[in-house]
Amino acid sequence: MSFTWISSYWPLLLTGAWQTVALLVISVVFGFIIAIGLAFAQVSGGRLTRLLARGYCTFFRGTPLLIQLWLLYYGVGSLLPMVPGIRQSLFWPILREGFFFAAVSFTLNYAAYEAEVLRGALLAVPKGELEAGRAFGLSPWKLTRRIWLPRAIRIALPTIAGEIVMQLKATPLAFTVTVMDLYAVANKVRQDTLLVYEPLLVVTLFYLALTAVIARVLRGLEAQVPVRR
């Protein structure tokens, strides 16, 4: 075991950690927003929206994230340049990057899993609370915003913490599309120094630390919500 390489790779490790965290935060935040729409579409949508949302969740939960990522990066990525004018557009520098494709596919994937969690939680909100809201004359929109959704999120919070950790554990896949995340740094160290286990070990400690932080933050969040026992 030798860890002398750390001193020269320290900045790279921090960049990698930053990329990993950025991917995680982007996919969780945007994925959660999409998931809210998907969950409501399944719980209270019409036939068609319900079917579409169900199909979306089945597709993204039934196929490996790696395939989704590659479908987007290699598949859509190879079709994009055919769109006229896109190379000259403002967005091209972003659309060329692996990071963009990783962020989009992780977001879509996270949304599908989170939507299932939220769907269950929406159905688990006690009927009486919704009826009370209606009796107060809340409009459906206000009822959803003030009672239904917040209560559902509260119910789903412990599960959400688990889902975020699962998402963190999926981020190393981004290295297959040239994103310099934590895992990619371990890979680079291996190529440069021929050390296999040490970089993996160090990177694993980073992931464990991130997991601990997520658990701590969500526990704090849970404590913020008043519960009467």
Binding site: P64, G75, Y183
Partner: protein
Amino acid sequence: MATAQQGILDLLAPYPPGWGGVLLTGAVSTVAISACAFAIGLLLGTGGALGKLSGNRALRLMLDLYTTLIRAVPELILIVGLYYAGTDGLNRLLAALELPPVNVNGFVAAVAVLGFVQGAYMTEVLRGAILAIPTGQIEAAKAFGMGPVLRFRRVLLPALLPNALPGLANLWMSVTKDSALVAVVGYQELALATRLAGASTKHYFIFFLASALLYLAITLASNVVFKLIEGRVRRGQPRLA
């Protein structure tokens, strides 16, 4: 439009100019890897669950380390790390025994690594399922004078299966998807076959979509199978709502 359709069908044709055969072979090896890994995981998990519940402190500490570590570390890191560590460790062992080094077959390595990972998750699923069995049933079996093996086979196993099945089904779904990660260490299954097909024809989109649909088919078929098994192990139980 008609010519484009023809082109796609040609690309996915099951025999050589088309790549359909390669994809299907990849799908078969994905299912084979998953099934073998699932079986190994089931063995490790049963042992792990019984070990954790056996009351032996040292054994429980070791198993706790195993399950916590495996479940906390990203799958990709585990697969890559165990792949190198496993083949390397085996060859060092052989060298110590003064035997010639072997080249570990990709299939065996993939199954061993995924099985080892599955084992940790199965340990927890099965432990929970065993804990959910009413103690009276086990005490009754003891009172009838059943030995541990007979008790396991006749009482514990049939009673834990309905509890464990949803968890086991989830694990099966996750192993079929995790097996795609084996592509990263270079074993040819569906994901890598797809990349190969895409790279040599430049029709990435079509091939990845096709393989996504193949994975989806595997998932949906497994859903049906697990539903049938669940109906079987729950026979005679009162149905809830």
